[in-house]
């Protein structure tokens, strides 16, 4: 009887693994070196733009410059690696009211589609998860060839921090720290990251 109950899950698992394998065959995912990932953000405090960045992130990208639309990207940001240039602020944003890094150490982005736009730009759609909350995000991205067969990817998009419960309680006052946060990213893809 237990065997019978396992039949459907096993079939589903097999199907999932197969679909993964197909995806792998299409374009292989390749890791991007840590120092080739640049993730910054600009938040407004009392209308003053203040920039910060994340020192650590992992990225896996399947990218073919000949067929950018088929690209895929997965990003994992180590939230505790935040650099705000101010130690007391860095301590604060790791606390539960902000990122709650003890419970949610990473933010992830998984692309779902890449569409070509005019002027050599692309629109990347995907799901951004921070603090266990997932929302769809869209970012215009420029792709430009770098030295030695590398490819530079750069883009920016804005999120609303309260959509992800970033800065709760007294911090939810958006007159002091604005709700909108601009996220800017740059990746330099190694030459091998293609089909």
């Amino acid at each position: 009887m237990p065997m019978k109950n396992l039949r459907l899950p096993t079939a589903l698992l097999a199907l999932t693994v197969t679909s993964w394998a197909i995806a792998e065959i299409q374009i292989a995912m390749q890791p991007v070196p840590q120092d080739k990932i640049d993730i910054r953000f600009v938040s407004k405090q009392m209308n003053v733009p203040v920039e910060g960045k994340f020192r650590k992130a992992k990225a896996n990208v399947a990218f073919d410059p000949a067929k950018v639309e088929g690209s895929k990207a997965q990003l994992e940001i180590d939230l505790a690696s935040i650099d705000l240039g101010l130690p007391e602020a860095e301590t604060e944003v790791k606390r539960p009211a902000w990122f709650d890094t003890a419970k949610y150490p990473t933010a992830t982005f998984v692309s779902s589609s890449v569409k070509p736009l005019a002027g050599g730009k692309y629109e990347v759609n995907g799901k951004l998860t921070i603090k266990g909350i997932t929302h769809d995000v869209t970012a215009p991205v420029t792709v430009s060839p770098g030295p030695g067969g590398t490819n530079n990817i750069a883009g920016a998009f804005a999120i609303k921090r309260l959509d992800y419960k970033i800065g709760e309680g007294t911090w939810s006052d958006t007159d002091t720290v604005a709700n909108e946060v601009e996220i800017k990213f740059k990746l330099s893809l190694p030459p091998g990251a293609k089909k």
Partner: protein
């Protein structure tokens, strides 16, 4: 460039600027010390902004005040005041004028070095005087604090001297800077 024939009082412009700056400095010193002890919080971010706006305002008033002082001869000190006191007074006032300008300036430099631009009233973005530099920011913070302690010391001396002239010497020194008080003579 004497602006008054009856040169026993400061001009009403000088008197207005003096008291405006005095009130603003008192308020901003209080705010500055209060904020420096606050934990990182929305309130702190808000109050630091107010502190900067007030500082910029003082800086503007101070520049006008110094310009006014250079173009309008102040009433001369009575001969009854000993020569050494007249020289000490001139030195103390020179130092006070200098601090009025460089205290806000040091705060502006500190803010620039800390990588936080000064946005006057949250609208007008002032240029960054220097690039972001953590070590420099820490040093400028110390300097801003030190200059403020100097300012407090000179202001205390200034107030005590004025009160001494008014209540001990019973002369005209304080009344020539007061907006409403009539001259004793």
């Amino acid at each position: 460039m004497t602006s008054q024939t009856n040169n026993t009082r400061y001009t009403s412009t000088a008197i207005s600027l003096h008291w405006l700056i005095a009130i603003a400095i008192f308020a901003n010193l209080t705010l500055g010390f209060y904020v420096s002890d606050l934990p990182f919080s929305p309130q702190r971010i808000r109050l630091i902004s107010y502190h900067k706006w007030m500082g910029v305002t003082i800086f503007l008033f101070a520049v006008i005040r110094v310009f006014w002082r250079l173009t309008h001869k102040p009433p001369s000190l009575p001969d009854t005041i000993p020569r050494w006191q007249q020289m000490a007074s001139a030195a103390a006032h020179g130092f006070l004028y200098l601090l009025l300008v460089i205290v806000p300036l040091s705060g502006w430099l500190y803010s620039s070095a800390a990588g936080v631009p000064v946005m006057y009233f949250g609208i007008i973005r002032l240029p960054d005087l220097i690039g972001a530099d953590k070590t420099l920011a820490d040093n400028l913070k110390e300097l801003h604090e030190l200059l403020n302690f100097m300012l407090i010391a000179v202001v205390i001396l200034h107030v005590l001297a004025a009160l001494k002239h008014h209540f001990v010497d019973r002369d005209e020194i304080l009344s020539r800077m007061l907006p409403f008080l009539k001259s004793r003579s």
